[in-house]
Subunit: 489 residues, 2 copies
């Protein structure tokens, strides 16, 4: 049935449309049903239905802004609305929940159905649970990666394409922009696409967004890379293995990372941008995502998969038991990055880790001889070439390093007595920053005045919490009070 | 922050509110965030936020009809809106996913959070997966039942309270109304509350709703039972262990029934209505929900739990490999029930099973001597007393047996050659009825002209499919064509 699009601007987490109750009855649709929207030019999208009696008339449809953009629809235009059958992939998910391994074509169908929104959030949650609980064989993981790559776009670039990725979980730890700047300065092509924060306070994309645009088309990114050898952009809107983004959004609810999912997520992105030389950073330890044992297992799986996809890949296990850098939250983290690049009282742990990773990648890609990578990386950093490269990239991304926004509110956590910090808990620190509004509020987060092994004297600040919302700040301070024993001890 | 309720009528599957983008920013809320809505009278409800720029002004809020009803709000009234913290129960769900058994207080918190909508559909899906994958001990199941009973309302009744329940999965199989009518005629109190269809084409509530109201308040139900000894109502709106309804709604997506969830679901409802004598029907076999082995395991668990809650409970295992009765779908099933009660060419399999179950329950509750139950039940049915009792109940529920709605469209499946039916597949038959629009479209479903062992000669109808929507009917016929080999063979 053809329905006319009524102008009603609204945004939802998932594609939602509203139709009149009478129209719904006529088509045989009920609240929560799935419909397929088709445009004259052949674009299609699956959406969930809500009904209304007053917002619009029979024969009209209102669609969320995401749908409008995706289908390139205009108000007043007509769209064809029809019932969709229950996707077969739900049955495959059910079988996986019951413990049966998935076949190649089943994995491809699940991924396609996630790609075109045929599956609801709850259905994707069942898929994530099934993969988490039942695991995936190396072959299943390979198919998942292939399906993700195939369902998305690809970035076709020339040159020696390299990438670095951390599995995350460590507060701060914003090494990517520094590694990218150092490596790109040597001529390596570094098409760095990042996700937004999953469970941490900020992802690389959130962080770069405080000083530059990160949301570009594939064509624009190619131009940026042509100019600068690199980019530091958000991968979400590029459509590169975009199913991964949809899965991550739901996975982050319970924050369970199945190894298969993690492998697929990282590998599919790297393959989609054509990376050949890949360095994976797996931080392990107390309050990190994984134990040393799990890190080692994951390392072996990465190396096996790399062979199947013919990649030059190396994995480093790093100490992830403590936050890295002092700022946690997008604007606070970009400050630390710029300090390292400008050689301006840089946070030493952030600098050392970044140089080490850049060095390894330079060796892996043949830009440095075995054992000489770190030295070369440090030289590029000290010479100012890395900062210059970073400036170029930010400029190409329409950015301005001097325009970091300041938060409206802050709260100092003051030591009531002499306090020696024995451990800073990554998970609680990240949650504190999120309570403050990070990463959606770019200015929100916290600054660690005192790190592991250091002492805050009575009356000195241990940390400062920042936020643009007074309510959020209060929430964060309350959270700190409730959990401080585990958070800073 | 206080926001004024703007008149915008819309219905969604879950509680959703819409606020202006600017207001959202001010409070620190993002799309998909959870907020707590509080009224002046102290009512509270958690809702998911969408944002808009045109539907309303800053300072206004639009809420879905379910919220409006639940909080008893009026347009123009003010409601207090505030951020809610991420519920702790998500962490418990995560732990369960990882395999850790849940403690009593954790189960209570999860159940409470489902009850007050603090958990999203995806989060509940993770909980269902965790329970399905990791299982629950008998103690965990006991706590789940206790929590469900506690979070809901209770029906306090006098007399010998009895109930009958089938775990479902068999197409047709609408024995409950007949068992209730027979037993209530002997003076047993039968407060039968049913859910709507989970995976079948119709639940008892859907079926009764074709001729009577099923949606009553607790007070009204007490009056109906006082008049007639029984009721046949929908349990969903009563608030009896209502968390179960929310779980079932999401569970039905993937149609995985974990034993623990099944036990909790059934037991919590029965305990909430005060039943003391309970008969559980577990149909097993090809295309039924469970195998004979699983049915036997489930039986033992039911008997163990019954002891913990001091119930007189018995379990019968029945043949569930074929549909029971000839009509599948609410209106088609009520027709079969009335035929049995009126002794008007009744479907024999439906009659025999109903009489057997009623007989068992009469023995369990002491209304018949051991071995005499079936005889007594048949006598009550044949005497017309059961029909009279059913008439009373329907009348008390403001019903009218003559007013069964007719569908607008039908399609006969004609035998192209002499066809002997060897097996009718429950799952596919149920799905066919659902494709036709059942149970939301009460008239939709199918009528089996030919059952197992019977022959349709060339040109004779095998079945007729009904629907109120032409599109749905076409979908159903297509589905039949695609699956007929497995469906009727």
């Amino acid at each position: 049935m053809k329905l006319k699009i009524k102008k009603l601007k609204f945004s939802t987490g998932i594609p939602v449309c509203i139709i009149h109750e009478d129209t719904a009855k006529e088509i045989g649709i009920y609240i929560g049903s799935r419909v397929c929207l088709k445009t004259g030019s052949g674009k299609r999208l699956i959406s969930i239905v809500n009904t209304a009696t007053e917002l619009l008339r029979p024969g009209q449809i209102a669609v969320s802004e995401a749908i409008l953009k995706k289908l390139r629809l205009r108000y007043g235009q007509q769209v064809h609305v029809e019932l969709t059958e229950r996707p077969r992939s739900i049955n495959f998910i059910k079988e996986k929940l019951k413990g049966r391994p998935l076949k190649k074509e089943e994995i491809f169908e699940i991924v396609n159905n996630i790609a075109n929104n045929s599956l609801t959030e709850a259905e994707v949650a069942f898929f994530i649970s099934a993969v988490y609980e039942e695991g995936m064989s190396l072959d299943e993981t390979k198919y998942l990666i292939q399906a993700m790559v195939k369902s998305g776009k690809k970035l076709r670039l020339k040159g020696k394409i390299a990438d670095k990725h951390s599995i995350g979980g460590v507060a701060g730890n914003r090494t990517s922009p520094i590694v990218v700047a150092i490596c790109a300065a040597t001529g390596l092509i570094m098409p760095k696409t990042s996700s937004r924060a999953i469970t941490s306070a900020a992802g690389t994309a959130d962080t770069i967004e405080t000083i530059a645009k990160v949301d570009f088309s594939v064509k624009e990114i190619k131009q940026i890379i042509k100019k600068t050898n690199a980019c530091l952009v958000w991968g979400g809107a590029l459509g590169l293995a975009h199913v991964d983004d949809k899965i991550i959004r739901i996975e982050r609810i319970v924050d369970v990372d199945s190894p298969a999912q993690l492998l697929a997520s990282i590998s599919s992105k790297k393959i989609s941008v054509g990376s050949k030389y890949i360095l994976i950073d797996i931080p392990y330890g107390k309050s990190a995502k994984v134990t040393k044992r799990k890190a080692e297992k994951l390392r072996i799986k990465f190396l096996h998969l790399a062979k199947k996809f013919d990649l030059k890949l190396d994995v480093v296990l790093t100490d992830g038991s403590e936050p890295i850098g002092r700022g946690i939250g997008p604007a606070l983290e970009i400050k630390g990055i710029i300090d390292v690049l400008q050689r301006n009282n840089p946070p030493k742990d952030l600098e050392n880790k970044s140089v080490m990773l850049a060095g390894k990648l330079l060796e892996l890609s043949g830009k440095a001889r075995k054992g000489q990578g770190i030295k070369l990386a440090q030289k590029i950093l000290d010479s100012g070439k890395a900062f210059k490269k970073f400036e170029q990239i930010i400029k190409a991304q329409k950015g301005d390093m001097t325009k970091i926004k300041k938060p409206r509110f802050c709260h100092n956590i003051i030591a009531k007595k002499r306090t020696k910090i024995r451990h800073l808990d990554n998970k609680l620190i990240n949650r504190l920053a999120r309570y403050a509004g990070s990463p959606e509020d770019k200015t929100a987060g916290l600054y660690l005045h005192t790190k592991k092994g250091q002492v805050a004297k009575k009356g000195e600040p241990i940390m400062t919490i920042y936020s643009n919302s007074k309510e959020r700040l209060e929430h964060a301070v309350k959270f700190y009070q409730k959990t401080k024993k585990q958070m800073i001890n």
